[in-house]
Every structure is written in structure tokens, then in C-alpha cells.
């Protein structure tokens, strides 16, 4: 019954992107936080927003929410200009540094956020215990939020973001303070939100979490999108192959570059990245034709972390 009620709140046609931005830019004095954000987030998907510290992820989300005013560019959220007050009724947000009124109990905090979203008292009365149950905080309903652990704060933060059944949910590092059980709970909640038709934008450094939760990911570097991937097709994209071979001649290595994006030779160990899994037979043939003695040939799918590290380059210590 509750899910039916939630389903009714979704008002965005699936064909309309939940978020669309064009060259959104934010500059604080001489510091450019977001250089040129051009992004499309499809409705009803779980979208991962990835990038190293200082890449401009949180500032981008804040621009979309109206917390920060863009220096230039334009963006629409659920079909309305970014920051539109009325549209915020359809948006939920869990901030990265979640700080709430610590003197409230979790039920009072949810009532406050429900009130601010314009929810009716009767509906709130029904929703508050439901949300506390959802984030497994029912046992702690009489405690003050100030007594909560980081993980509990994240749970109540998630509940306040979801209490009004939003169509679009921004979650900034939603699992950073959670134990494995808590992470699984949040993953399940995120998927349930997607299943009811909501769009979830997930900003997280936990790439493993992102990989198993998101449908699409965009990588942000120096305030600019540098790549966008469909997680399902990531497996059909590049493949890393680790080969142990003797008598591998360098001339054969040159031929490999036509089917590989990188080849690294360290003695008898050769690590290469195939452009796609379809190239694997050809690579093997090239090894055989070169007269090399191949002891092992191990292809493995590139993880999101591999893609991330390759795109972002060296650690800048931010």
C-alpha cells in the first residue's frame, strides 16, 4: 500500500532526463570549482557521480539543489531550472557532512523535515514509524540525535531524504560511516527507490559500492566530466590481460598496439589492456605467432576502480 502511494508521486516521464546541465560553471573568486559540467541523468536510474577529492562533485550537487549559484551555464532538474523552490518538494538530499539538530529525537527530526516538505500531519504520523523501521532506527526513536553514532546519523539522514517520497534523490557519501550490514541496507533502499521509479544520484568514494549499485557513472576531473559509462556494458569494454611468456619479442609487441590500449612488458610478465573482449583471440594469436612460450594468459574485466585510476591519473594528495 505504501509503495502504491509512493508510485503516485512520480511525475517525471521516463523519457525526460531527471537532470540535464549544459556547461555549468562555478568559480569562487579565482578558484574554479566546477569548470564545465555537461551532464544528462536519465530518469529512473541510479547514477554514480565519481571523482577525486576536490573534483567538484559536491559543488555540482549543490548547484543542482540551489544551495550554490552557478557562475554561468544552465541546468534543469526534473524539468525545472536548477534550484527551483517548488521542485524541491520532489527532491530528497542527504548532505555529505550530515549535520542535523542534535537536540531532536529521530521522530521529531523526521516530523520537522516532513513539515518543511509540506506533508500533512496524518500522512506524517503514518510515515515516521515506517521510515524509522526502514533505516532500522525504531529501537532508538527516543534518543536524541546528538547521541547517535556516525552510522546512525547517516541512517536518519537517509530517512529525512526519503520521507516525502521524492522523485529525485541526491545521496552524498551515504555509506561512508556504515558497517557492511548498514551498507547492504542502504544499497537495498537505493534499489527499492529506483524500482519505484525514482532517480538516485550517488556520490561516493566507495567504488565497489557504486559498481554494484549504479546503472550509469560519470567521472568528474578538475570540474569537468571526462567519461561516462553504462555499468552493464563496462564488462563489454576494455579487458586487462596478464600474460606470463618467455621469448616474447618486442616486434610482436608493436603489433599488439593495434588491438590494445596499453602494453607493459616487465621481463616475462606482460600486462596489456584489450580494447574489448572480442580482441582476446587475436591477441592470443599474436602471441603464438611471435613464437613466445605462453605459460599463462589471464584476462580480467576492468573494475570501476581500474577505470577510475586510469582516468584520474596520479594521486594529488587532496
Amino acid at each position: 500500500m505504501a509503495s502504491q502511494k509512493r508510485g503516485k508521486t512520480l511525475r517525471t516521464a521516463a523519457s525526460t532526463p531527471a537532470i540535464e546541465t549544459r556547461e555549468l560553471r562555478k568559480q569562487f573568486g579565482s578558484k574554479v570549482a566546477v569548470r564545465k559540467l555537461t551532464l544528462t541523468v536519465p530518469s529512473g536510474s541510479i547514477f554514480g557521480f565519481l571523482g577525486p577529492n576536490g573534483a567538484g562533485k559536491s559543488t555540482s550537487i549543490k548547484m543542482l539543489l540551489g544551495l550554490v549559484k552557478p557562475t554561468s551555464g544552465e541546468g534543469t532538474v526534473l524539468g525545472a531550472p536548477a534550484g527551483d523552490v517548488a521542485t524541491r518538494r520532489r527532491i530528497g538530499y542527504l548532505p555529505e557532512h550530515f549535520q542535523f539538530y542534535k537536540w531532536l529525537t529521530p521522530a521529531e527530526l523526521l516530523r520537522l523535515h516532513g513539515d518543511l516538505c509540506g506533508m500533512e500531519g496524518a500522512l506524517l504520523k503514518e510515515k515516521i514509524p515506517e521510515m524509522l523501521e526502514l533505516v532500522a532506527l525504531s529501537r532508538h526513536r527516543d534518543k536524541r540525535v546528538g547521541e547517535f553514532s556516525k552510522g546512525m546519523l547517516q541512517r536518519i539522514g537517509l530517512a529525512q531524504a526519503l520521507i516525502h517520497d521524492p522523485d529525485l534523490i541526491f545521496l552524498d557519501e551515504p555509506t561512508s560511516g556504515l558497517d557492511p550490514m548498514g551498507r547492504k541496507l542502504v544499497r537495498d533502499i537505493i534499489r527499492a527507490q529506483r524500482d519505484r521509479g525514482a532517480t538516485v544520484v550517488l556520490n561516493s568514494h566507495l567504488l565497489g559500492e557504486v559498481e554494484i549499485t549504479c546503472d550509469n557513472v560519470s567521472f568528474l576531473k578538475d570540474g569537468e566530466i571526462v567519461a561516462t559509462h553504462d555499468i552493464k556494458t563496462l564488462a563489454a569494454e576494455e579487458v586487462r590481460v596478464t600474460v606470463h611468456a618467455r621469448n616474447f619479442n618486442r616486434a610482436a609487441g608493436a603489433k599488439l598496439s593495434s588491438v590494445c590500449t596499453s602494453v607493459r612488458v616487465e621481463g616475462e610478465n606482460i600486462t596489456l589492456t584489450a580494447k574489448s573482449p572480442n580482441e582476446l583471440p587475436e591477441i592470443y594469436r599474436l602471441f603464438a605467432a611471435s613464437g613466445a612460450d605462453v605459460y599463462s594468459f589471464v584476462p580480467e574485466k576492468l573494475s570501476l576502480e581500474d577505470v577510475f585510476v586510469r582516468l584520474m591519473g596520479e594521486d594529488r594528495g587532496l
Partner: protein, 276 residues
């Protein structure tokens, strides 16, 4: 109405964090001290058989001192209780979950301002009204125009509160506190300069006092309140916090009210414009 939700939560925050009760307790403590002082003084009058005229004038002067302390206390309370409300929530990030809800920023600001304004009014009502009631009940002495005086003290407190809110939209809590208390101190100094000018007949001092009052008219509002409330004998004293050597005009009071409104709109605008 978003602003009403914020006003309620501001009030509840003050109550839960014991800010409201501590302020009220301080007010009650002051009233108890004032009553004790009156009790001792009246006891001395009775023992010495002091003439009713002298007795009345001294008790009236004590009442004015009491109201002067109430004014200082109320202004400081208005500043200290509100100094962290905007800047603190911006610094901690608490504002993020609130400002992304479907209410305009002006409603968040106004809701908070109304909450603190109501608490300030409650504090003024308790301490100002209490001082007059204690004085009347024990010594049968009341100020000349208590309502005018009360409204002017409240205006002064709201002005200080609004300036605190304004700086809170741009500066950290500590900087905000230093700025507002500094401005109020400046106004206090300006008030004394004007009084001294009345005594020394220095036109330059008058001008300096007026300029300072234009910069921050809080003290000028108190001096007008004191003038309205004092007895004719107290008014004759040339050099006191209630002296009438340089009486702020109706125009200055109007300027004070306008100053408050402009500060309120400037703060609203500043909060609307800033990145959170």
C-alpha cells in the same frame, strides 16, 4: 507555512538547549536582586524617617538604574542568543538539509528572526515589566511613560538582534559577535559624547555623537526611552545614563525603526544571495 515551522523549531531549540530558561532565570535573578536592594533601602528610609519627597526621588532613581540594567541585559541577551544561529548553521552544514526543502530562503531567515524576536520580547516583558511591578509594589514608584519606554527598549533590542542576523549571513560566529558588540559599544560611547557635549556645549562633540548614533542608533533609542520615563528631578541631573542634556528626537527614533527595517531586508537579501 515554512517560516512558521522554522519559528517553532527555533523556539523549541532555545527551550531544549536551555537558552530560553537560562535567560529567563537570569532575568528572575536580576529581579530578585533589585527587590532585595529596594527592601534594604526602604528599611533604611523607615528607620531614618526619610521625607516622602526624598524617598520618592531616590526610589525613582533606583528604578531608572534598574531599567538601565534591564536595557543593557536585554540587548546583550538578544545579541548573544542569536549570534550563532545563522553563521553556526552555515559553518556546520546544518543549513544544507533545511535549505534544500521546498521553502524559500527568506522564509528560513524570517522564521528564525521571528523566533528570536519573540524570545527577546518575552525577556524584555519579564525584566522590564518585572522591574516596574517590583518597584511599584514595594516603593509605589512607577516610571512616567512605561509603555513608551518599554516599546523603545524592545525596538533597541530588535535592532541589535537584526544587526546580529545581518552579520551572521556573512561572517563567522566569533566575528559576528565581535562586530555587533563593537558597534553597540561604539553607540554607547557616542551617547556619552552627546551628553558630555550638552554639559560642555561643544558643537563638535554633538556632531560626533550624532554621527555615531546614525551608524548604530541603539544607544540613542535608550536615551530617548530614559528621557520619556524619568521623573522631573532625575531629568534635572546633568550627567547620568538618563540625562536630558541631548535628547534624541522623534526623527532619530524613526531613523532607528527604519534602520531596523533596512538591516532586516539587507540581511534577507544577503542570505538569499550567498552560497551555502
Amino acid at each position: 507555512m515554512g517560516w512558521w515551522v522554522i519559528t517553532k523549531v527555533t523556539f523549541r531549540e532555545a527551550a531544549r538547549k536551555k537558552i530560553l530558561w537560562t535567560a529567563m532565570l537570569t532575568g528572575v535573578g536580576f529581579l530578585a536582586l533589585f527587590a532585595l536592594a529596594l527592601h534594604f533601602q526602604i528599611g533604611d528610609f523607615d528607620a531614618r524617617g526619610t521625607a516622602p519627597f526624598v524617598r520618592y526621588q531616590i526610589l525613582d532613581a533606583m528604578l531608572m538604574v534598574g531599567l538601565y540594567v534591564v536595557d543593557l541585559l536585554a540587548v546583550i541577551m538578544a545579541i548573544l542568543t542569536a549570534v550563532d544561529t545563522i553563521s553556526g548553521e552555515i559553518t556546520s552544514g546544518t543549513i544544507h538539509a533545511i535549505a534544500t526543502k521546498p521553502i524559500p530562503r527568506w522564509q528560513i531567515f524570517l522564521g528564525k528572526w521571528l523566533g528570536f524576536a519573540a524570545m527577546t520580547a518575552a525577556f524584555v516583558a519579564l525584566t522590564f515589566g518585572g522591574t516596574i511591578l517590583v518597584s511599584y509594589a514595594m516603593g509605589h514608584v512607577a516610571p512616567e511613560h512605561p509603555w513608551e519606554g518599554g516599546w523603545l527598549v524592545l525596538l533597541e533590542c530588535l535592532l541589535a538582534l537584526t544587526v546580529t542576523f545581518f552579520f551572521g549571513t556573512r561572517f563567522s560566529t566569533l566575528t559576528n559577535g565581535v562586530l555587533v558588540l563593537g558597534l553597540h559599544g561604539l553607540a554607547f560611547m557616542g551617547g556619552w559624547l552627546e551628553q558630555m557635549s550638552g554639559f560642555t556645549e561643544s558643537a563638535k562633540l554633538v556632531m560626533t555623537g550624532i554621527i555615531v548614533s546614525l551608524l548604530m542608533p541603539s544607544e540613542a533609542i535608550w536615551r530617548r526611552a530614559a528621557f520619556d520615563m524619568q521623573s522631573p528631578l532625575a531629568a534635572a541631573l546633568p550627567f547620568s545614563p538618563f540625562a536630558s542634556t541631548s535628547i534624541p528626537s522623534n526623527l532619530m527614533i524613526g531613523y532607528g525603526a527604519l534602520y531596523l527595517l533596512i538591516a532586516l531586508f539587507a540581511a534577507l537579501f544577503s542570505f538569499y544571495l550567498r552560497d551555502l
